[in-house]
């Protein structure tokens, strides 16, 4: 049986990694991820987790060590944030191309310059094309649950998986949550065997040289296999729900029944956004919230279903693509562009570098979006607006 505990988000992730009995942890400390690996190092030192902790000299090496250990069949873990993820970036494409089920947690952090250790999604947005399964948690319970699910998904489909947790908003906040019993988690994430491990008795070559005559075929195979992960992701969440009572889906809806306007967010801001939606609902406005849980593979069908009856979609991005706008909004727009009845999609950018967004500001975004569409129709939806900026 599980028990209710008060736990910091970072420690919740460390508990998940301990309960799935990871074999190798390679990580380099960086705020706001540090508490995760500190706690794991402590668990190993205290004999609570039988794993190899590799102290590396950089995030580039951390992911390289994870690739090597995973290729040898180990269950591995690493985590990073902000600049650390950027330094790791080159190696992140390797496990996805080599089909190694590495699991990582990103405690999302703004990118320099200027230097900021606080949360936004700039680091996550630079990882869109790395070929990993990517999910966004919105609280500590989800940080734990999604990390456990990440192992199950990754090992079933042989692709790496990353759980994004908002730096500080999740990593450093203590919340009450349910910690399942260890044997229940172990049952849910059983031992696995990679079909092609590094083994002197059965030699294989990984990460081979691929001249133009074969490289495109490798990418086609990777894309087809990655698209096919979707059904396993859904099955994992379904089974997790039946085992632990908490159900997840790629696109999660909040008060969307009869909604005419929807706000779409990713990560921890959805908790504040829900309060804003409640207040607007109490005032009689037909608004709802869409929380994008699964970021890769992108949930096209679920998103289209979620917006089929609404008239206006408001998307909040916690990152900026310079000269382009909000990256989440641009993907949402591309997912909905081919619909017969297109709706205006208004883009807001906020919460950069750890700036809070208040309930009032969420309500402002929804109101302002309506005004813009009223003033200029579809053209009014063209440009993103940064909120909470002083003149």
């Amino acid at each position: 049986m599980g028990r209710i505990v008060g736990l910091e988000g970072s420690f919740a992730v460390a508990e998940a990694v301990r309960m799935v009995n990871a074999d190798v942890i390679a990580a380099y400390p960086i705020t706001p991820q540090t508490h995760i690996v500190e706690r794991l190092a402590e668990m190993i030192a205290d004999g609570e987790l039988d794993a190899e902790f590799i102290c590396v000299e950089s995030e580039h090496s951390a992911m390289s060590a994870c690739v090597g250990a995973s290729a040898a069949g180990a269950r591995v873990f690493t985590c990073s944030a902000g600049q650390g993820l950027e330094l790791m970036h080159e190696v992140l494409y390797i496990p996805s191309s080599m089909r190694l089920p590495v699991v990582a947690v990103a405690a999302n952090r703004a990118l320099s310059a200027p230097l900021s250790v606080w949360c936004d999604h700039s680091d996550a947005m630079s990882l869109r094309d790395i070929g990993w399964i990517q999910m966004f948690a919105e609280n500590n319970q989800q940080a734990f649950d999604l990390t456990v699910c990440a192992y199950r998904m990754a090992e079933e489909v042989l692709f790496p998986a990353m759980v994004h947790i908002d730096g500080f908003f999740i990593s450093h906040v203590i919340e009450d949550m349910e910690l399942p019993a260890e044997d229940e988690v172990r049952d849910f994430v059983p031992d696995y065997e990679h079909p092609f491990v590094l083994d002197p008795d059965k030699p294989v070559s990984m990460g081979c040289y691929a001249p133009p005559f074969i490289y495109p075929e490798t990418k086609k195979a990777q894309e087809v296999a990655f698209e096919a992960t979707k059904s396993k992701i859904l099955a994992t969440w379904d089974e997790f729900g039946r085992a632990f009572g908490r159900y997840y889906s790629p696109v999660e809806l909040y008060r969307m029944e009869d909604a005419r306007i929807a706000l779409l967010v990713m990560g921890s801001f959805s908790e504040t956004a829900m309060l804003a939606i409640d207040e607007m609902r109490d005032a009689g406005e037909a608004v709802g919230l869409i929380r994008l849980r699964l970021w890769r593979p992108f949930p096209f069908a679920e998103l289209r279903a979620a917006v089929k009856d609404i008239e206006l979609l408001v998307v909040l991005d916690r990152a900026i693509s310079f000269g382009m706008g909000g990256p989440v909004c641009s993907e949402v727009r591309s997912a909905l562009y081919n619909l017969a009845d297109r709706i205006p999609i208004i883009s807001f950018i906020g919460g950069l570098g750890g700036r809070d967004i208040s309930i009032a500001e969420f309500k402002y975004m929804i109101k302002r979006a309506q005004e813009r569409v009223k003033e200029a129709g579809m053209e009014g939806a063209e440009m993103p607006e940064m909120i909470g900026i002083r003149e």
Binding site: P195, V204, A210, F213, E217, T218
Partner: protein
């Protein structure tokens, strides 16, 4: 059957493009990169084997009569053997 038909399709590949046949790189023909081929003058060659030592491709081997020949399936035509030959008996001739 064209060369394209003999190439593996994407469905033929193992997950992650894992290669399960050890040493399969030896079937990769690097000889078609070559624009010049090494040609040896047997009369002046002293069979010292310097070309064999310096070949970066490792494609030169000793023949039964003690000379050293490049395997043109692999020889990339870099010309290092010709450059290093102490007797200057190897010349690089343009591939036609």
């Amino acid at each position: 059957m064209s060369e394209d038909d003999m190439m593996p399709g994407w469905k033929d590949l193992k997950p992650g493009f894992v290669v399960t046949e050890p040493g399969s790189a030896s079937s990769y023909k690097t000889g078609d990169w070559r624009s010049e081929r090494p040609v040896r003058d047997n009369v002046r060659c002293i069979k010292c084997g310097i070309c064999y030592i310096y070949c970066p491709e490792g494609c030169i081997s000793e023949t039964e009569d003690g000379y050293f020949d490049a395997d043109l399936y692999y020889c990339k035509g870099c010309g290092i053997c010709a450059h290093e030959c102490p007797r200057g008996v190897i010349t690089m001739e343009e591939e036609k």
